[in-house]
């Protein structure tokens, strides 16, 4: 697939999405200063544990964050083909949603409307954006069902969601998202709710469709295995921030941020002797009160006094396209000392 040369398709800069919580508890800074680029045709993985801001980031891109309580702070930039999505008027934004940037959700069980046939739901985006007639839209839906590998599409098109299995429903979701051939597909944990064999099928399907349709995919997941097999580059998020950005191979060969290191160590390995799984001590702190300095310092095995008071910026690690938000980049000898 393509590299990172040329202009970015989607440019996210200094994205801040905050939630005002119930009286007295302050503001939850769910996404705090997130920047990344998505290039045409690539798959960018966003990883991190629950509560680190992955889903809010993806919802922010299409401005689907419920307001209130959420709001995207002024100064944030989400640029798609040179246009700031955050500054678009409602009709222009709707023309982007589902048409240029589409999204698939985590839960195929609840993301489909139970009272409409899958055909109607797939056809909807085509009717909204391309003004197809009902008949043409139906033909389109059948075509899409075929594309996502559902057997008997002519029959399935009239089925209701509850008549399909979980994997089938996720395929329907994908068909819905791709009906207008979007340039960007945001996949928010597309396989979390599915069992492992179906997961593999769905991810392979996404890979195949990406090649056929030439779209860029933003793959949001907490599963490093998924990232390793399917992403070109990876953004690691922690506590509302991007802590490391790297090409997939670079990240796995040389994880720089201690959080990434911890995540990789926590993955069970099939080729190593069985032992207790590694866990990062502690939990993600509450989004209303992030720690001072580096947000990872309370859980970091290397942290020293500088980490408590000063937050590191994104630092170049030396490898191409690899940055990390960690003071260890400037003082690598401390990592050795700990080992």
């Amino acid at each position: 697939m393509t590299g990172t040369e040329g202009p970015a398709l989607l440019r996210v800069r200094d994205l801040k999405t905050y939630f005002v919580t119930e009286q007295g508890k302050g503001t939850a800074r769910a996404v705090d200063d997130v920047s990344f680029d998505l290039y045409p045709g690539e798959t960018l993985g966003i990883v991190g544990e629950s509560g680190c801001g992955k889903t809010v980031t993806s919802l922010s891109i299409l401005r689907l964050v419920p307001e209130p309580p959420g709001h995207i702070l002024p100064g944030s930039v989400i640029e798609f083909e040179g246009r700031n999505l955050l500054a678009l008027a409602a009709p222009e934004l709707r023309a982007v949603r589902g048409n240029q940037i589409a999204m698939i959700f985590q839960e195929p069980m609840t993301s489909l409307n139970p009272v409409f046939t899958v055909g109607d739901q797939i056809a909807e985006a085509a009717i909204v954006h391309q003004h197809l007639s009902r008949k043409a839209a139906r033909a389109r839906a059948i075509e899409m069902l075929q594309l996502v590998g559902i057997p008997d599409p002519k029959e399935r098109v009239d089925h209701y969601p509850h008549q399909l299995s979980g994997g089938m429903r996720q395929r329907v979701m994908i068909a819905m998202a791709l009906v207008c051939h979007p340039k960007v597909l945001i996949a928010d944990e597309p396989t979390t709710a599915l069992d492992v064999t179906i997961q593999a099928q769905i991810l392979e399907l996404l890979d195949r469709l990406q090649n056929e349709l030439g779209m860029a995919v933003l793959l949001i997941t907490h599963d490093l295995g998924v990232v390793a097999g399917h992403a070109d580059r990876v953004v690691v998020m922690y506590a509302g921030r991007v802590v490391e950005t790297a090409p997939t191979s670079g990240l796995f060969e040389q994880p720089t941020h201690p959080y990434t290191e911890g995540l990789l160590a926590a993955v069970p390995r099939i080729d190593a002797p069985r032992s207790r799984l590694h866990a990062i001590p502690g939990q993600v702190p509450a989004a209303t009160a992030w720690p001072t300095g580096c947000r990872f310092h309370p859980r970091c095995p290397y942290a020293w006094d500088k980490c408590v008071t000063q937050e590191p910026p994104q630092l170049e690690t030396g490898a191409p396209g690899h940055t990390a938000r960690c003071w260890l980049v400037t003082e690598p000898e401390r990592r050795q000392a700990k080992r």
Partner: protein, 308 residues
């Protein structure tokens, strides 16, 4: 009653029974509608409603006389039920059966149209309040609270005083505009929970407009309670119309509605009880049938009963 009337009545009965039977037969093929007919009363309710609807539509055929025909002011006053006058005659020598049949048009019409107005308005207000929430919700729902606090008869009396004799359409509107409050609360509650569902976010992510999201994605999922409340609403509107007519502020006198027939017969309740017994029976039958059908609908449309 002439032979033709008996024949028409017989045909109406057979037709109603046949409608109930056919719907049942068709329904039994699908799981959801099998639940609709789980109770025996649902079939009866459906049959009775069909029968009365046919009578209303075919009033000129089943009724031997016009609704206002005075048949003989001297010797046919308060005539008890007989073969010629099956339900008797009233104090003005009008045939009660004819008036009940013609009155079905007015009463069922007001019931259906009034409930339609009420449910549409209630759904619209409830959906708006529930979907937009925040100040829109606060404003609309406080308005509903105020509306529920005012006695309805009082508001209607004021409307009548302003209009000085309500035409049919105005009566329907007046009843509809004062009956939507309960429905709006019901729909709002339903929409409040539906709007948080993922498929609603998915519809927005697809680029659908707010109106499309509300009408195509949210409301169809709230159809079950709306339909049930509509069925019950028809009964309520019918009762309201009857009480308004009884108070003399409903349907204007020469036209018969079941309520106004009772109102006019009230003075002869001891000498000619048939003048109020039969229209009263008709009202009770319709309301009971509607309740039975609403019960069936509730069972049939409840998604919790649906096997996932």
């Amino acid at each position: 009653m002439r032979l033709g009337n008996w024949l028409a009545l017989f045909v109406a009965l057979v037709l109603a029974a046949e409608i109930a039977r056919l719907t049942r037969q068709r329904a039994l093929r699908r799981e959801r509608w099998r639940r609709f007919f789980k109770h025996r009363t649902t079939s009866w309710g459906l049959g009775i409603l069909a029968f009365l609807a046919i009578v209303a539509l075919a009033a000129p055929l089943v009724a031997p006389f016009g609704p206002g025909d005075q048949l003989g002011i001297v010797d046919l006053r308060n005539h008890p039920p007989s073969w010629a006058f099956v339900l008797g005659t009233d104090v003005l020598s009008r045939d009660v059966w004819s008036r009940v049949a013609w009155g079905a048009r007015v009463s069922l019409g007001i019931g259906a149209l009034g409930a339609l107005v009420a449910v549409s308005l209630g759904t619209l207000v409830g959906a708006t309040a529930g979907y937009y929430s925040r100040w829109v919700d606060a404003l609309l729902m406080r308005g509903v609270d105020v509306g529920l606090a005012l006695p309805r008869i009082f508001i209607l009396l004021m409307a009548v005083a302003l209009w000085d004799g309500l035409p049919f359409a105005a009566l329907v509107l007046a009843i509809g505009l004062t009956s939507w409050l309960g429905t709006s609360r019901l729909v709002r509650a339903e929409v409040l929970s539906l709007r948080e569902r993922e498929f609603v976010v998915a519809a927005r992510a697809l680029g659908a407009k707010t109106g499309r999201v509300i009408f195509r994605h949210v409301l169809p999922n709230a159809a079950a309670p709306i339909i049930v409340s509509a069925a019950l609403g028809v009964g309520n509107v019918l009762l309201l119309e009857a009480s308004l007519s009884f108070l003399g502020i409903g349907v204007a006198p020469p036209d018969p509605s079941w309520g106004s027939i009772i109102a006019e017969g009230a003075s002869t309740i001891y000498t000619a009880p048939w003048t109020i017994l039969f229209p009263g029976l008709a009202i009770s039958l319709v309301v009971m049938s509607l309740n039975a059908v609403a019960d069936g609908l509730r069972d049939a449309l409840d998604p919790r009963e649906e096997a996932a």
